[in-house]
């Protein structure tokens, strides 16, 4: 049994004292940032990135991944209690979760959220286990044109599937690729767009860019907003969290459906946990015999998105680990972390760094169990976190951003870079430009250029090479579909609008 052998190898990594410790640190930090509205997993992972230089690559990845899925557990707490999504993917949970709080059933909602997240995570882990090595071995024969096409698909999918204008998303992707051009060209050694600055010859720092856009930018946007309502202390006891039997009935089906949708959507390039949660909720509402109950404190309205978003997070590792292609911005940063640790992501990863892949997968299981423990008996600790005043929190976050950005390559220049992109990030938020596709473009852009040039070099300048292989053709057709669908949707919306004579 090959898989047992591999799992044993993974367990060796995940159950080493370092593996356990940093998995715990990761999920703890993740829950923390998930609970606090205003800092998402992206900012937290970029923050933790420089600190992982002192760890071995598998341990570093275990910790960073822990932040990502830990945040999905934490995100539901603020969503349910305050009607504020702690992370973007918990936005759907607000709808029914907060209604339940208003009805005095906050405990039940929190309990269901934790259990659903756990089940979603477990289902997705099996998907990762089953599919990643399979896809990786399939992708072994991928040529440069296949890589270029699948990256194009990922970028187009990410920008058209995001909330808001697809055109804005795609413009941000292009901006990200343009920013990725800065620095020394790998193929020829020419310095491009560096303005003669030595600090830019290695390119724009990924950490500075991510921290600026998602850390400083978010803080500025929060500071510019009106004050939020403070949390009312609620009497949460463990007993009040246990749902009654009639509430539980049939809930497992909802959780399973949510996990399935989440795991599937999460594995697609370009779609993140937020979309998975939304799709699971929408389909659950459609399937329900009494859809009018959704939005008025329906337990299934909590279970479905929560199982989906955590499943999506785990499943998002499938394309990242099997192809080296990140599905969303958080995965892109994790991929960046791998590269910084000297690991080249791609289909060889599973076989060339087995301790990394299997260690990570086993740690997902460990981490989800830790999170269940952290979120059920210790829920009151997290609720208290919500009362940390923002005027203490944001200076601390800015401090960690400054010192974190600096410590990556001991460069003062990068602090200014983070500030610059922070201000840009704020304007992007206010102008409703999504920043996540920008980051994805920034990371994928240089890889795309390499594959684009290599593909055309091998085909002697013939563009049809992108249609020569079957995978590449399929990816390009899918890309075209993703481009046409929003156009069609916009067209339908417009005709509907003229018909209604509204707005």
């Amino acid at each position: 049994m090959d898989i047992l052998h591999n799992l044993a190898l993974g367990a060796e990594v995940a159950f080493s004292w370092q593996g356990l410790l940093f998995c715990f640190v990761g999920v703890l930090v993740g829950t923390f940032v998930g609970v606090l509205p205003g800092i998402g997993p992206l900012a937290a992972i970029s923050l933790a990135l420089p600190m992982t230089y002192y760890l071995s690559p598998p341990i570093a990845l275990i910790m960073l991944a822990g932040i990502f899925y830990g945040a999905q557990y934490g995100g539901s707490i603020a969503a349910i209690l305050l009607n504020l999504p702690g992370t973007a993917s918990a936005a759907v949970t607000c709808i029914d979760g907060n209604q339940m709080t208003k009805q005095g059933r906050a405990g039940v909602a929190l309990f269901t959220a934790a259990i659903s997240s756990f089940c979603g995570g477990i289902v997705a882990i099996f998907m990762v286990l089953g599919f990643t090595p399979m896809i990786a071995s399939f992708a072994m024969d991928f040529g440069s044109m296949d890589y270029f096409s699948i990256m194009l698909l990922g970028l187009v999918a990410a920008s058209t599937l995001s909330v808001g204008s697809p055109l804005k998303g795609m413009t941000m992707v292009m901006l990200g690729i343009a920013l990725g051009l800065v620095g020394t060209d790998d193929t020829s050694g020419t310095e491009r767009f560096t303005f003669g600055a030595l600090a830019l010859s290695d390119g724009i720092s990924l950490v500075a860019l991510a921290m600026g856009l998602f850390g400083v930018g978010e803080i500025l946007a929060n500071l510019g907003q009106e004050k939020r309502a403070p949390l009312k202390a609620s009497g949460l006891t463990f007993k009040s969290m246990l749902p009654k039997r009639h509430e539980w009935q049939g809930l497992w089906k909802t959780i399973l459906r949510g996990s399935g949708i989440g795991a599937f959507v999460g594995a697609l390039p370009g779609s993140g946990p937020a979309i998975a949660a939304f799709m699971a909720y929408a389909s659950e509402k459609k399937l329900a015999r009494n859809p009018e109950k959704f939005g008025q404190g329906e337990l299934r309205g909590v279970a479905s998105p929560e199982s989906a978003n955590n499943a999506a997070v785990q499943a998002a590792f499938i394309p990242t680990l099997s192809l080296g292609i990140p599905g969303d911005a958080v995965m892109a940063v994790l991929l960046g972390a791998m590269i910084l640790h000297g690991i080249s992501p791609g289909p060889e990863l599973v076989t060339s760094n087995p301790e990394m892949f299997w260690g990570l997968v086993v740690s997902f299981g460990v981490g989800n169990i830790m999170l269940l423990v952290l979120n059920l008996p210790l829920i009151r600790v997290w609720v208290r976190m919500l009362s940390i005043p923002y005027h203490v929190l944001y200076p601390a976050m800015l401090f960690f951003i400054c010192i974190g950005v600096f410590s990556v390559r001991s460069s003062v220049f990068d602090i200014y870079t983070a500030l610059f992109f922070g201000v840009i990030g704020y304007f992007l938020i206010r102008l409703r430009f999504p920043a996540a596709p920008l980051l994805l473009g920034f990371i994928l852009g240089p890889m795309m250029e390499v594959h684009f040039r290599r593909a055309l070099l091998l085909s002697r300048g013939d563009y049809w090479t992108f249609f020569d292989s079957i995978p590449s053709t399929v990816f390009l057709i899918l890309t075209a579909l993703f481009l046409v669908l929003p156009l069609w949707a916009a067209f339908r919306k417009r005709t509907a609008r003229t018909a209604n004579l509204g707005d």
Partner: protein, 147 residues
């Protein structure tokens, strides 16, 4: 139905278009190479062109879009800029502690009402934490105080 033009969005789109033009101009200054053997200029010109195209489409899309509220927030932007600049300037010259104190005190001015006690307490707490974790823990090449 006649809504006013959303100049803020239009200007943003135009800025992106200008950036695209800049990428094309600057990119064409590098060796373009041929399709068969591309130089470092080829991909930038391609990206710049698509950026310009998208920017033009964007101008059409946002022409009549809904106006933004509280777009310009000078106070937080200026105080955070000041804090970052102070941190960057002081870090290697004066040390981590003065840089941290300057950063925290300056950014604490971003929100009204200013809370001096909380700001000083946060500054002290973060200085201690920063020195313990980053200077002693991770060994970044900066000391607590540079003399």
């Amino acid at each position: 139905m006649a809504r006013s033009i959303n100049w803020l969005q239009v200007c943003a789109a135009l800025l992106l278009g200008l950036l695209g033009l800049y990428v094309i101009v600057q990119g064409s200054g590098y060796d373009m190479g041929s399709l068969r053997r591309m130089g470092p200029g080829f991909f930038p010109v391609m990206i710049g062109s698509v950026l310009v195209l998208f920017a033009v489409l964007l101008v059409l899309e946002v022409w009549h879009s809904e106006k933004e509220k509280n777009f310009w927030i000078p106070r937080p932007i200026l105080t955070i800029t000041a804090g970052f600049v102070a941190f960057a300037a002081l870090l290697e010259r004066a040390g981590l502690v003065p840089a941290t104190v300057a950063l925290v005190l300056l950014v604490s001015l971003a929100e009204k009402p200013v809370r001096p006690v909380a700001a000083v307490a946060t500054a002290v707490g973060l200085s201690v934490l920063g020195v313990l974790v980053f200077v002693y823990g991770f060994g970044i090449p900066v000391s607590a105080f540079e003399w």
